[in-house]
Amino acid sequence: MSVTVGVVVFPGTNCEHDAIAAVRALGGDARLVFHTEDTLDGLDAVILPGGFAHGDYLRPGAIARFSPIMDSVSSFAASGGPVVGICNGFQVLCEAHLLPGALQKNRGLTFLCQPSSLEVTSTSSVLTARAEVGQVLRVPINHFSGSYTCDLDTLRELEDQGRVVLRYVDNPNGSVASVAGISNEAGNVVGLMPHPERAVSSLLGSEDGAVLLRSFLDAAATASVG
């Protein structure tokens, strides 16, 4: 299994090298894809990493959505390719309507940079397939606008279809229904605020993010064969 993951870089992205290092540590390969590029040819999966794309001006992810590479990301997602948006990447996916809902300023207007406990609530996504429902993972969060918001009908749909894939145990940011991560209907597009790429080695305080990224690399390998 040799997969290559594209890690998209917008102006202001700052977690791209962590994402590449994590993918490589888990046996995959990865390369940077600049936001002005217009193709994902040769890539088996895509990560939209954390940071402050386009300075987070207007709203996090609002301008990044119009970057040239996003058309390719949309078609890649529509054809079943594995896509994960981490932190700012999650915000970009919501603004691009590849995932429902929106990320709002944290409850209490506090920037949160701390370990968080996440409960796996669905394994029917490219990010959680290898995990077990009920498993609790220790993964850091690092955000100001991470409070997940959507209307009640959307929330019901997400829950009924098993698309809430991760929930906070203690809901640090005030997300609706403690949502930490969701997927699209097909399960191949996932967004989450916590940073699994920062939890792949005991040196970093936790290896719990590895099961998520291994799931993602598995999906990339399958997608590339198919």
């Binding site: 207007l58 119009f66 429902p100 929106a102 709002q104 300023k105 409850r107 209490g108 207007l109």
Partner: protein, 83 residues
């Protein structure tokens, strides 16, 4: 013709507004005891060229909907005038 569109973007009713709530909590400490509620939002002034007022309003509505506001959590109020 040149037009000026003022676009006010505010949170939809029922969406948590931590910024407005924080400002409202701070005001009594400054002596503003009469303030009963604060909502935070933002406003934009957009200059644009259009053939007439209706066209200008339509452009402003479209850009407000597609970019300036996120309809999932926000709504916009638009006023257009000729410059």
């Amino acid at each position: 013709m040149k037009y000026l569109a003022r676009v006010e973007v505010r949170l939809r009713h029922g969406i948590a507004d931590p910024e407005g709530a924080t400002i409202a909590r701070a005001l009594p400490a400054m002596g503003f005891d009469s303030v009963t509620a604060v909502e935070a939002g933002r406003s934009f002034r957009v200059e644009l060229d259009a053939t007439d007022l209706t066209a200008a309003q339509s452009i402003a509505a479209s850009l407000a909907d597609r970019l300036l506001a996120n309809p999932v959590i926000e709504e916009s109020v638009i006023e257009v005038e000729q410059l």
